[in-house]
């Protein structure tokens, strides 16, 4: 029988205490100014905003941000249909203002620009951020986003990131599924083709790779399973026997924390990618919480806040976000629960659900 104070003192000795305030401040700083070495993230700044906002949401600290300003900024990233609607297949959200289109927080039509188009991961994170901030998506051109999404799907069922062309793999299948799910409209994709792509990406070891023939990986396995869950098709696409084998592949990823592939080192973010997949498959409860938690906390930066992929490494927004979500899956005190497929707080998910009900009522 030890007191709460004693327990707190003991966990801080072992460095197993979760430093909530530090992580709140870490995310606050992310939202302000980043040093020049973050130049590679220019085109994906919106994803950093997502990590920070969704992270603050899970930390139950969204009160520290200026929601209306953020909403305006996010809407300024929407690639709006032009007057003549000739750019519908390029609509969606940008990752940042890097193209140089004039600021327009989705109040009026889009300015034509040969090289202006959305990016599937930015449309996904943009919509997610708006939902987290409590916006009703009324300035989102849903039909344009869906047209932009359809334009990205390839014959094999996978997706490009941008209409100009890019690599195509399971990450963008997931982004597409999230977009359709959030807009409550699956006309944005050919679901059967996407399902076929997922099945063809399943490896001989029953994990799922980024594409057919590729090595099975914790990230792509999450993307595939979460996409199927959002489509509502998991049990139809995989037999019970196949699901058992996927569960086995995933649960073998736990070493203390989790890694993404057999014989690779563990990394904090896989506590979410693999953990969430296991949760969607109903077996996360059978993992070892103590070892997972110990590992995640060993990557916590006690000075600066945030989490890194490994202990004694520099924290970054992505690993901070997924470290926190990894802890949330285990029911960590002070943390909001995370929806394991959509990767936003359950609270944000509930507000999305209410939005969908309002839309459906309006259309009847």
């Amino acid at each position: 029988n030890i007191s709460t104070e004693q327990r707190k003192a003991e966990s801080s000795d072992e460095q197993e205490d979760f430093l909530r305030e530090r992580h709140v401040r870490f995310f606050q700083r992310c939202l302000q100014v980043l040093p020049e070495r973050y130049a590679p993230y220019e085109t994906s700044r919106l994803t950093i905003v997502f990590f920070a906002l969704s992270g603050l949401d899970v930390l139950d600290a969204l009160d520290v941000v200026d929601k209306p300003s953020l909403i305006e900024w996010i809407y300024s990233l929407q690639v709006l249909p032009t007057d003549d609607k000739s750019n519908l297949s390029r609509c969606g959200f940008r990752g940042s203002s890097h193209i140089g289109v004039p600021y327009n927080s989705s109040k009026g039509p889009g300015a034509p620009h040969t090289y202006d188009s959305g990016h599937v991961a930015m449309t996904y994170t943009g919509l997610a951020c708006l939902i987290i901030l409590g916006d009703d998506l009324s300035r989102v051109c849903r039909e344009a986003c869906l047209a932009g999404l359809r334009a990205l799907q390839l014959e094999d069922g996978s997706f490009y990131a941008v209409p100009e062309g890019s690599e195509n793999d399971m990450r963008f299948v997931y982004c597409a599924a999230c977009i359709c799910f959030m807009l409550d409209d699956w006309s944005g994709m050919d679901r059967q083709r996407a399902i076929d792509y997922i099945r063809r990406s399943t490896s001989y070891d029953s994990g799922i790779g980024q594409g057919a023939g590729l090595e099975s990986h914790g990230g792509s396995t999450f993307c595939a399973v979460a996409s199927l869950c959002m489509m509502g098709n998991l049990q139809e696409v995989f037999s019970e026997r196949e699901l058992k084998r996927i569960r086995r592949w995933c649960i073998l990823r736990q070493q203390n924390g989790f890694h993404g592939r057999p014989n690779k080192p563990v990394d904090t973010c896989y506590s979410f990618w693999v953990g969430a997949t296991l949760e969607l498959l109903d077996v996360f409860q059978y993992t070892n919480f103590e070892k997972n938690r110990s590992y995640i906390l060993s990557t916590q930066d006690r000075l600066v806040g945030g989490f890194a992929k490994w202990p004694d490494s520099h924290p970054d927004p992505l690993h901070t976000y997924f470290g926190i979500c990894g802890l949330s899956l285990m029911g960590e005190a002070e943390l909001q629960k995370v929806h394991p497929a959509l990767n936003i707080s359950v609270r944000a998910f509930e507000s999305l659900r209410r939005l969908h009900e309002a839309w459906r009522q309006k259309s009847t």
């Binding site: 996904y124 001989y204 590729l214 990230g219 058992k244």
Partner: protein, 372 residues
């Protein structure tokens, strides 16, 4: 995906700090000498060549978020890039600027796209471009855009002749680089370059028998060439894998491969498998061996409906894993044991005679009792 561990983040590229460029102080020192240097120095020093172009700054509105603090140089290069983009200028100076922009941020996919537009519009030498992209990938092998660019150039040239050697070079530095393997598989499949790959895979497995990417590649090559239907091939592969297991028993990759290649036919249908694996128990014990036996017994039970004979050893093996060989997954192995008992009975003659035989369909629902 910067360091990777590969694609450690499915959605966004890894924000790992070591993927980022440092301030190039050597460059700035050189600028003081009046030498005719190429590249960005000219842009920065000799702005009159660009005087006709009005720079286009980024516009984040009144409340910018996640603002990156660019140096004057970096801001200038990209302001000029935005200006070129706006005018859709197709010129040599535009082409040269893309290289400057890439050096500052090789992850900007718009710059790469524009460079490709210029490569075609200006009919640039694609062999030179191959040299260029080779150098960039060597420097930043975990960047998505550079590999995509290389693929485009290879397609335009319709020349894969350097690819396998190039990828092998990259893999010699990081034998598990997911981008490298992805490019390699694309080249092989697109241009039907299967010769010598099995030998290459074996070399890699000699160097590191635990390289999961190499095992995956082994499966990739064989599936696309001989296939596994030929029993001589299957036998060869099983023996090869068992040999690697004997060398390094605690190797999930080898066990996954063994299990994977025998799945289609069914573990229980491979003659002598139970005996061969059981034989390994003393010298090559591992949680993977025991788990393999669990799967093998389950397959035997399902196919031959020998629930009384085989479910008892399975439950014993699950207990061995839970309590001794794979304790981190204790709860999971207990769950597996419970599921098997629900499906096939506990192996106790009295209990199982009253159980109805399980349906033979693989669509059998998981009858796990609800946990509190």
């Amino acid at each position: 995906m910067s360091s990777v561990e590969e694609i450690s983040n499915p959605v966004a590229e890894n924000l790992e700090e070591d993927g980022v460029e440092e301030e190039n102080t050597v460059e700035e020192a050189e600028m003081e000498y009046e030498e005719p240097v190429k590249g960005g120095y000219i842009f920065y020093r000799d702005r009159k060549e660009w005087a006709d172009l009005e720079p286009v700054p980024q516009d984040d509105g009144p409340n910018p978020v996640v603002k990156i603090a660019y140096s004057e140089k970096c801001k200038y290069v990209f302001d000029m890039f935005r200006a070129l983009l706006k005018n859709d200028e197709k010129s040599e100076r535009a082409f040269a600027l893309t290289a400057e922009a890439i050096e500052l941020n090789a992850a900007n996919y718009t710059v790469w796209h524009y460079r490709r537009v210029l490569l075609q519009a200006l009919d640039k030498d694609l062999r030179e471009e191959m040299k260029y992209i080779t150098a960039i990938i060597e420097d930043q092998p975990k960047n998505y855009q550079v590999w995509h660019h290389r693929r485009m150039v290879v397609e335009w040239l319709n020349d894969p002749s350097e690819e396998l050697q190039f990828v092998a070079e990259i893999l010699s530095q990081d034998a598990k680089n997911y981008h490298a393997w992805q490019h390699r598989q694309w080249v092989m499949q697109e241009y039907k370059l299967w010769d010598g790959e099995l030998e290459y895979v074996e070399e890699l497995l000699e160097e590191d028998v635990r390289n999961n990417s190499a095992w995956n590649q082994r499966h990739f090559v064989i599936s696309h060439t001989s296939g596994y239907s030929d029993s001589a091939i299957l036998e060869r592969e099983v023996q090869y894998t068992l040999k690697q297991i004997k060398k390094a028993p605690h190797n999930e990759s080898a066990w996954n491969y063994l299990n994977g290649i025998l799945q289609d036919g069914g573990l229980s249908s491979y003659p002598g498998l139970l005996e061969q694996v059981t034989e390994l128990q003393d010298t090559c014990s591992s949680p993977y061996l025991t788990a393999f036996l669990v799967d093998l017994y389950e397959d035997i039970t399902k196919i031959y409906k020998k629930n009384r004979h085989h479910s008892k050893p399975v439950i014993k093996l699950c207990k061995l894993l839970a309590e001794e060989k794979d304790t981190i997954r204790r709860e999971y192995w207990n769950y597996v044991s419970r599921s098997l008992q629900n499906t096939y009975g506990s192996g106790d003659p009295v209990a199982s005679s009253s159980d109805p035989p399980p349906p033979s369909s693989s669509q059998q629902p998981d009858t796990e009792p609800s946990d509190p």
